[in-house]
Each structure stands twice: as C-alpha cells, then as structure tokens.
Amino acid sequence: MNDPDPWSDAGTIRALAGRIEQRARRLTRGIKLMEVCGTHTHAIARAGLRRMLPSNVKLISGPGCPVCVTPIDYMDRAVALARRADVTVCTFGDLLRVPSSRSSLERESAAGHDIRIVYSPRDALRIARAAPERKVVFLGVGFETTLPGIAAALEEAEREQLDNFLVLPGAKLLEPPLRALVEAGDVQVDGFLLPGHVSVITGSAFYAFMTDALRVPGAIVGFTALDVLSGVERLVELVAAGEARVLNLYPRVVTESGNRAARELLERWFEPVDSRWRGLGSIPRSGLALRDQFAHRDASKLDVALDPTCEPRGCRCGEVLKGAIEPPDCPLFDTVCTPLEPVGACMVSSEGTCAAWYRHERCEEHA
C-alpha cells in the first residue's frame, strides 16, 4: 500500500553501513560522534541505527531537545502562571508532562487550570482572539527553528493589537552550548551531526566557528535513516583524515545563508541573554529574552506565586545531556524514572535521550 520510501531503502542503508565499517577500520581509536538534535536521537532510535555501527564509532546525544534543556524554574513559572485565574497557558504537547518542582502542567490541568495543547503558536493566537478577557500565555521554548515562528506570532499580535497574547520566553541558541561542551573538554566529541532544521534558519555558513575556533568536524544532516548514516560516514572520514570541516549534506533545505527574513524577525523581537540550561548551568548569551520595548508581551513580567525550586534527587539528566553518560548509567533510569512517571526531563520529551533509549534501545538487553 505504501510506496517504498527511498530515504529508508534497506539496500542503500546496508551499503552505507558497510562503508562506515570500512572507514572505521582506519581509525586508530574509538571515536564519539554527537547528534545535537533530539529529533536525530529519535530518528536514530526509531530506525535502530545504533546497532548497525561498528564498535569503535559511538553515537552520543547532546543538548538539543528544547524540552530537556529547559530548566526546572521555567516549568515552575509556567505552572504558577497557569494557576492565575486570568491566564490560559498554551503549550506544545512536549511540555505538558515535564515535572516542575512540585507539579506539572498536566497536573495543573487536572486541578482545573486552563491549559491548552497547541500545534503552532498561531493556534495560541486564535485562542487569544476568542478570549479577549483572558491573558493567553504561549510557552516559548525552542531553538532557532521554532523561535522565528514565535516571533511571527508576536508580530501578528502586535499588528492586530491583540493585547492579551503573551509569551514566556524560554528560547535557546545552538552555538553557545556547543562551544561550552567542546571547551569544557570533559566529554570527548570527535564530530557533530548538526541539526538540519536549525540550519535551515542559520544557514551553513553559521558553522564557521566549528572549523575556526573549536577545530571539530561537523555534518549538517536531515532526519531520514539515509541522511543520518551518510553523515556518520562522512564524519568518520573527516575524523580519520584529521579535517575539521563542516559539510552540508542537507542541501535540499539548507542554504549557505539560511533564512534571513526569519533571523531579522528574531533580531527585532529578541536579544541574547545569559541563560540557564538543565545540566549545563548558565551559559553566557545562550538564550533569548524579549526586548524591553516588548515588555507588554513578556509573561515573565506577570506577578506569580512560585513554588520553591527543587531539582529531582538522583536525576542525572545533566550528564546525559552532555553525552557524559548513557541513560542506563543513571540509577533512576527504568527504575523510578519511566515514560509513565518521568523524573527528569530527558524521559518526558519523546525526543529526550532517556525516552528514546527507554522506548527503542533497551531492546535485546533490558526488557
């Protein structure tokens, strides 16, 4: 009934896996390649790619799931906003079950607070239009891919003078944590699988810092099994040759200069600020805050009663996010922390590293 998908053609995949194996024989040591993007983590797990790679090429997951890197105090603020009688919180489904210090949006919804799951910031605009008497707060998490859409929704609200549409900024940028990871040096990363859809916005030229400053090779790849494997193949080749280049293997959507209009819109609405990341701590200029002139759209300015912040005990999400440990190394994984009762954010988001491992990688060893 389905046309065979050429992007997951088993024959081509076998051939690529064979090539990776050949190239890996020339490596003098085991190497670690980091997929930065959670959607890659998910795609790798879904297709079962990890087990197709030779033992000296390891894929590790990085801090690229916006849900996972969102610090717990952001969730505390979202929960506190939801408890205000005059607020409707709109969120991507991904955030609904992320634990805050004492609750989660899912629990607040059960307690009768108005929380709506939306697919797009535009859906939140529609909710704001229909309920002018309420403050409609969109939870603005995401990286460069998602943020321009949030800015576009803000722009639309401004144009329509839709005064009850606000955003709680939780925006994160890609470059600062990559730099922080490599510069800290506590995790060996020999090459990066770079996030294809962030790159649609940033363009491939953006990654010059990897070649110039970090001296680590990278490959911009798409999200099919073939895309990911071809990225691994080229990275193994670059590592073996000691070349720190960045290749654009996703030219069907990624251009050199990226989406300039989207970046201009971001620039108009947001400014870089120091930002805290779950597991990585505060990283200078790694987040985006609304510019002062748009303070009337900034939900973080609303008065709320916050629960005291407390991180879950024993949770090692932070190290998982840095690629320092694999999920099964965390004592909570698959014991008290499961997708049904997540303790850490990495288990909640379906593209979280722990959730992807729980679902797809426990296969033959844990059951």
């Binding site: 009934m1 389905n2 065979p4 998908d5 997951s8 088993a10 995949i13 076998r14 959670g38 959607t39 797990a45 879904r46 297709a47 079962g48 790619l49 087990r51 197709m52 799931c65 916006p66 849900v67 991507f92 489904g93 991904d94 609904l96 079950r97 799951i117 697919y119 859906d123 995401g142 998602t146 099994a225 499961t338 997708p339 049904l340 988001s349 379906s350 593209e351 729980y358 679902r359 797809h360 990688e361 426990r362 296969c363 033959e364 060893e365 844990h366 059951a367």
Partner: protein, 344 residues
C-alpha cells in the same frame, strides 16, 4: 449561541432526563423510531429475552467518549455499538443483544442525538444484533461534553470455539484485517485542524468478517481489536498475557498515505493510533494463507495482510520488537500517557 433564541425542542433540556412527560416524548420521538424492536417497544424495566443458543455466554461493557462526536466514517452512536460488538466478536462470541445508555449534556442539539440513534441502529443492523434496553440521562450544561454512550453486550461462544492468548505458539502468524490507524488519525486530524477528504475512520462491526474466518475453518488461536493504544499496545499486552514474543515487520504494516502524513505532521506513530474496525488475528503458520484469503473475501477485510510472527519467549529480550524498514530492530512499548502532538 448565547443570546440567540432557539426553539425549545431543538435542544436537550434538563427535563428530558427527569423521567416524566418530556422523557417519554424524547424516547418516542427521537429514539424509538430508528431502533424499534419488540424488546424495546415494551418500554418496561427490563428486557426479558429468549433462551440463549448453545454455547458459553460472553458479556462485555464499554464507555464511549469521542471528540468530535461526528467524524468521517462514523459518530458516537455507531462507534458505541461497533466497539461492544467487536469486543464480543474477538472473544469468539456471536453477539446477540446490546444495551445502550446515553448521558447527554443539557443543550445538545436534538438533531445530533437523532444522528447518534441512527448510527447505533445502522451498526446494530450491520452486526445483526438487537438493542434490547436503553436509558437516557441529562446532566447540566458544562457538566459533560455533549454526549457519552455506554453499551453492554451479550453474546454466545459456539461450542468448540476456544480462543485465547494461551493458545498462541511460537511460529504463529500475526495478521491484521486492513490498514491501521485510520480511526485515530481521523479524530486527531479533526482535533488539530488538519483537513483531508481522504481520512476516514475504519469504524465498523466485525461480526460478519470474523464469522467468515470461522466459516473457512481457520484454526484461530486468538483475536484482538487494536482500539486504544493501537496495534503496538495490543500486541504488547498479548505478549504479556501469553508470555510470548512478537516480531512485527515495519515494511508489512499497512498504513494509508494520508494516515502516515497525519502522523508525520503531528509527530505520532501509526502503530499507536486506534483502529475501530480492524482485527488482529493469530493463526498457525499452516492456516495463515487460508485465513488471509477468507478475510480478503469480505468487504471489511480486503486489505488483510500478515504483519508479524510469534517468536520463542526469552527472558532477556523485549517482548515486542519491530524489524524496521531500515533493517534495524526497535523494541515497542505500550503507549504511555496521552498521544500528544509534538514539535520535537
């Protein structure tokens, strides 16, 4: 609708549930005409039925809550009868009698209620069952979501039929009667404002299809309808109950292109979307082809295919595994929590 004058009897009033004259009028005007049968016509406290045919009686009950209550391919009424009929059928029973209770929200359009009644009547006639008793209650506006339905069903497993997960053996084939995820995708697409002329729920009573399987003398080990949680959750539960392992083949899974597209758009997996008119069948390898042929001869089973195989149980291994199109292997879990659309 606030502020507009409506004709008093175009909507459900609280009084329609009070048991008095209004209730009688409602039943007589909106419910009985479509469902008329000798048992219901008496309007007495209980339906006194005839002697059951030979075999072991089987009973089931189910509650139905669906948003939207009318969707491409069905409605709350049709769905509520199909669901209960199908639960009886996959247990090997021939469904006979159903009860049907409705909980209506004050303000519901009568037209919608009549649509549910016609839907239930159509499903009952397609399945060859009789709705022998019913009830209607009305809750105040805001205390319910338009309408809920509760059905109970009674059927009989004919002598000699023995179905159950304990009969499934390593080497058995896993069949599905048609494309998966049609119902779930149709509902989710509606909720998330995706438009499609092609998406349509598979909602249907399976009585005829399943009897065709037995008529072809297929030795069926077990059957399940992959409703909530979809094919993956149903297979997972089967593994757990029967202490089995199942390997599904991703390339064999029948998924319509519009269902696959809906899943890609919303970040969901068709293996976890509900079907309301499909059956998963476990048969011995020798019977697999005969079973497929019998299924395909019936209009509801045209798309029947083999999707997997039962493997030797092994304590160290995940119970349910998908052989991916890419050539990898991926363990499948039960659906955890809600299936939410996601951006990442």
């Amino acid at each position: 609708m606030r502020g507009t004058r409506v004709k008093a009897d175009s909507r459900i009033l609280l009084g329609h549930g009070a048991g008095g004259r209004l209730t009688h009028e409602l039943v007589a005007r909106s419910i009985l005409p479509a469902l008329d049968n000798p048992y219901l016509a008496t309007l007495s406290d209980a339906a006194v039925l005839t002697q059951l045919p030979a075999g072991r009686p089987a009973m089931t009950t189910d509650g139905f809550v669906v948003d939207p209550p009318v969707f491409a391919g069905g409605d709350l009424g049709y769905l509520s009868v199909c669901g209960t009929v199908n639960d009886l059928c996959v247990s090997g029973a021939r469904p006979l009698w159903l009860t049907w209770a409705l909980i209506l929200e004050e303000g519901l359009e009568l037209e919608l209620l009549e649509r549910f009644v016609r839907g239930a009547a159509r499903a009952a006639s397609e399945a060859g069952v009789v709705l022998v008793a019913g009830d209607t209650k009305v809750v105040p506006r805001g205390k319910g979501d338009r309408a809920y339905a509760v059905t109970s069903g009674l059927g009989v497993v004919p002598p000699g039929r023995e179905l159950g997960d304990q009969h499934i053996r390593p080497g058995d084939a896993v069949l599905v009667s048609g494309p998966i995820g049609d119902h779930g995708a149709t509902i989710l697409a509606h909720r998330h404002e995706l438009g499609s002329d092609e998406l349509r729920s598979d909602c249907a009573p399976l009585a005829g299809l399943i009897e065709a399987l037995f008529a072809a003398r297929v030795d069926v080990r077990a059957m399940h309808d992959p409703t909530r949680g979809g094919v993956a959750t149903t297979c997972y539960e089967t593994c757990r109950r029967g202490n089995l392992r199942i390997e599904l083949d991703e390339r064999a899974l029948p998924v319509r292109r519009e269902v696959a597209a809906t899943c890609r758009l919303l970040g969901l997996d068709p293996l976890y979307l509900a079907c309301e008119g499909r059956v998963l069948v476990w048969v011995s390898e020798e019977h697999a082809e005969r079973a497929l042929a019998a299924l395909r001869e019936h209009p509801l089973g045209r798309g029947a295919v083999r999707i997997g195989v039962v493997a030797e149980p092994s304590p160290g291994l995940a119970p349910l595994v998908l052989r991916t199109a890419a050539g990898g292997r991926r363990p499948l879990d039960m659906l955890s929590g809600l299936d939410l659309p996601r951006i990442c």
